[in-house]
Amino acid sequence: MLIDRLSRLIFPGIAIWFSCYMLLEQYTGNYRSSTQTYVGGMAILVLLLCVPIVIAIIQGKDSADASGGTDDSNVPDKETRKKDAVRNFSRIGIVVGMAALLVYTFETVGYLIGFTLFLVISLRLLEVKKYWLIGLITLIAVAIVHFIFVQWLGVRMPAGVLQGYL
């Protein structure tokens, strides 16, 4: 329950942090009053709207999420559901982590190697068992990226270590 409430505080927390940042920046920086009014007004509005939301979350009166969460209609017991939830959240964490690593190393590694590794690891992570299928999907996807996006549409993605060869 505590973890659930803490997770519900993430988005309002981001909103509060950002509003405070914008307010402080406007009023401690050297800004004209016209821009201060607009940004200050919007930031205060967001803060005011966050207050009842945060209070409702802390009191446990927050409305249920509309997404419905995990579909557990075919999973009978609580333990299995918990295991599935942990597994799925770890997958999300790993996919996001890998994407972040890809973004961080994109210019060094290049699009071809970066996307290939990302696809292979993600497909394996998502339990695609057949290696030939992993190879085929990766090959087709990377070919689309290279021939359609890079060659045809002219999106200049960094080639990284393969600079000069692509």
Binding site: I10, Y31, S34
Partner: protein, 505 residues
Amino acid sequence: MSGVQDGFMLLLSVMWVVPLGLLVGMFVGALPGLNSSGMLAVMLPLLILMPPEIGLIFTVSLYAGGEVGNSFPAVMLNIPGNASSAVTAIEGYPMTLRGEGAKALGICIMASTLGAVIGGLAAITAAPVLANFALRFSSVEIAIVIVFGLVAIAQVATGSLLKGIMAGALGLLVAAIGTDPIWGQFRGTFDSVYLYDGMPVIPVLIGLLGFSELLKIIENGAEKPKAQTLTSIGLQGIVSGFKSVLRKPLDWIPASATGLIVGIIPGAGSSVASFIAYQQSMAMAGEDDRKAFGNGSEKGLIAADTANNSMVGGSLVPLLTLGIPGSSSMAVMLVVMGYHNLQIGPLLFQNHPELAYAVLLSQFVASIFMLVIGTCLAWFAYRLASVPVNTFLPVVAVFCLIGGFAQNQYVFDMGIMLIFGVIGFVMKKNGYSVIALLLGVILGSLFEGHVNRAIMMGQGSFEIFFTRPLALLLWGLLFITLLGPYLVRWLRRSKQFQRSSVQGL
């Protein structure tokens, strides 16, 4: 009339885009997991790199095709492509179980076609009239219309009204990042040179609509869909479905009107349109017909699928005339238009009438092709729902990353896409409206510009927002939208209370 003629000639020159868009839309729509806005968000890098007329017509065709494609797995395998085809599954799948799967598909295709025709007709008649009216709007009215749009979205979208308004306001604040429009000072840039031009909209859009959806699918367990049995489809069955729809005008005409009206309301989307039309159809049905609802009712299926596609036409109206997207998919179109520096709002009909009419006319062309392509695809497209979701999710993730990179070709923007993807996922999990945040970001700079201009018009005073007659009318509409549902609820409760007091006596 010359605008219509020019639009028609422009459409003729790029006619190939319509069937291609429908085909791709139907294929992708048939795949489980990705909804229309997610599909458009992922395809955004392709759409913006095309010439504007091709990109915009392709977007509308993709959208329309996606709404039809969603129906195939819903009917045949009880796997809705997205929320809007949930009703299609409720009524279509029982028809499949009793051996009328082909007929159900035929109903979906014909109902969608008729919905597209009516949506197109209404859009082409209403849009220029509304655009002319909107030309009278000054910065004051436009600023209020933007607020109205955000409030309307917060009202109808997922989660509570307060959360929706907060998300919209946050979006407007995020849009303030960049350069102050009057004095040119940087603000909220976190000292990053990449944010001097403001928050890049395309990575935000792809993150909030595309990448977050992907994370939601992984959260729900990206496994093989629970397919039932695969049945064969015959042309005779499909044609009998066509005839069934044509014999029931009292079902598809009101549903078209519903879809149209819902489409005009910003943020409502196809799921709202299909559910409202379905409920209306149930309410208007006779005693015997009502029993069939939930067990394979043709009337329910017709209503839902007609509304889905007429909504596409409806959602084009506020986009092309006021610059307010009627749905998250139309938000993608707004971004495409902005990328090509097209005048968004009523001036589009003045400065680029051929483009505006080409987009509106493309729906008629799409409806003709829909019948043919839908019939051909129906034979096998529903089998796409059996494609394991885990095989294409990483590919979609790669396209999202490319989409984030493509606009400015900065790796930084890929990071923005990722951040907003995670934020969008957290928002969806906790009942916040992603579309409200997105529209706040898209319309924020426009809103600030109009507010500043309005204040200059009022010589530094905010009074101008409350003295112009059009502005007062818009405030009135805004308050009705905001308070209307609460008023209706209060009236119902007081009637119930009165009834129970009378019964008690």
